[in-house]
Amino acid sequence: MVRGRPRATRVLLYAILAFFAAFYLMPVYVLVNNGLKSFREVSLSRMWAPPQQVTLEAFGKALRELAPNLRNSVVLVVPAALISAALGSVNGYVLAKWKFAGADVVFPLLLFGMFIPYQSVLIPLVQFLQWLGGLLPMPLYGSITGLVLVHVVYGIPITTLIFRNYYATVPTEIVEAARIDGAGLVGVYRNVILPLSMPAFVVVMIWQVTQIWNEFLFAVIITSNPAQQPVQVALRNLAGSQIVEWNVQMAGALLAALPPLLVYVFLGRYFLRGLMAGALKG
């Protein structure tokens, strides 16, 4: 493959890759390394030095501090990802297989919703949640329920996009055959489309779970009460306060990053597909 001085070129090539790998992995090292130190041992000048005595004290403290918020994030992420995936699936099916007049207009209008800066909807959103919550027996503004609603709605564009592109690859002949057998819109979905949908559901769920877990702007605006805040907001409060020990901040950051990180490690292939869909490539 490589001509000229192959040995030297190969060494250089690996050296560049190793340099970049070190750059990308450096923050993980810092989080783990300092999270495992005791409060006595942690110091700015010894950030890179391994702990003389490994202790889980900082992780224990960060976990006690963040446990309610980690729980909030789970309570938020699971229903929000499930509902937006279900909506995306039926929307994608209709848009891919039942092209009706106006579908070509509706779809890009939906898609635009995933690119907007959410700052441009925040003020009405807060007012709307306060108003709607007043009509319902439960508050929406300030609650995880409200945040679930918000993530479901703003998740519709991306989930619809991924499912639509996935269903577009399902041969129309299969759908036609089912219709000739007498299946209608619902029957085709239940008997033909849904059984084929597992890969798309995996991609969409993984994408939505990591996105909603990591989201900050809606969370910080809608949940001002610390007891209701998801973990990213709580981590920001923890890291922004001067009194919390440095090693605990590191441990806390790692805890907040852990679920998406595990998703990436074990299901990276599917994560990547969601990522590519975000670039409008199906």
Partner: protein, 292 residues
Amino acid sequence: MRIRRDRALSALILLPSVVAVGVFVYGFIGWTAYVAMSNWNSFIPDLSFAGLRNFADLFQTPRFQIDLRNTLVFTLTFLAGCLGIGLLLAVLLDRQIRGEAFFRNAFLFPMSISFIVGGTVWQWLLNPSTGVNLLLESAGLGALKSPWYTEPRIAIYAVVIAALWQMSGFTMALYLAGLRGISDELREAARVDGASDLQLYRHVIIPLLHPITLSAAIVLGHVSLKIFDLVFAMTGSGPAFSTDVPGIFMFETTFRGNRFAEGATISIIMLIMVAMVIIPYLIYSSRTEAEA
């Protein structure tokens, strides 16, 4: 009969999503635009009409002028960095590397981590009295030590470094997928014609990657125009607003300062900037899709 019923049903299935997005995206944007043209700049709502005065005032505000400059600098350096690093890493990884999966994952995993976590850890890494400066010192590169985000003139570049850590794996993945899609025959043909490796990349491969470059630039460009969490967690506004961006200004003036009309005005400007990038792209993609 059945067909007609199914067609009505298909519209009915889409209806809740269309209504929800209609209200939460288009309705809310409309209301924000209305607030931006009102006098609501205190805790008490005042929706009397102010026309475009808030916009004129905003562009006269020194903080917003700094924000626009920061956004421009941030977007250009971040884009150049992401495209450059992404292409370099993808080209290197495409050369039958041992341990390719390890390198690929090492480059890409930060994409899965939140900007809040990223900002928190980079705040420590680029803290002048520790982190990267310590590393440089112990490597004998003390001359490269930097005040990073504590020095107003370069602070924004410190944020760019963190953003590159977080997002450049995205362009690497896109380019790598593109490179894998280029057939070996094409490469062989160029070699038979006597092209060197460099010429092969310059004249054959990189031009073939242009559509990827365009998609990546659009996606990353719109992310950087609305960047908020990363800056908020890492530096906030920074010394002398040197890392301030419209997203942070909007957040503070609206939800800390109760200046709703001003906040709405900033967010409408952000929306216009993003729309100028995204709308042509949406039209372009739906056209190419129709042709395909």
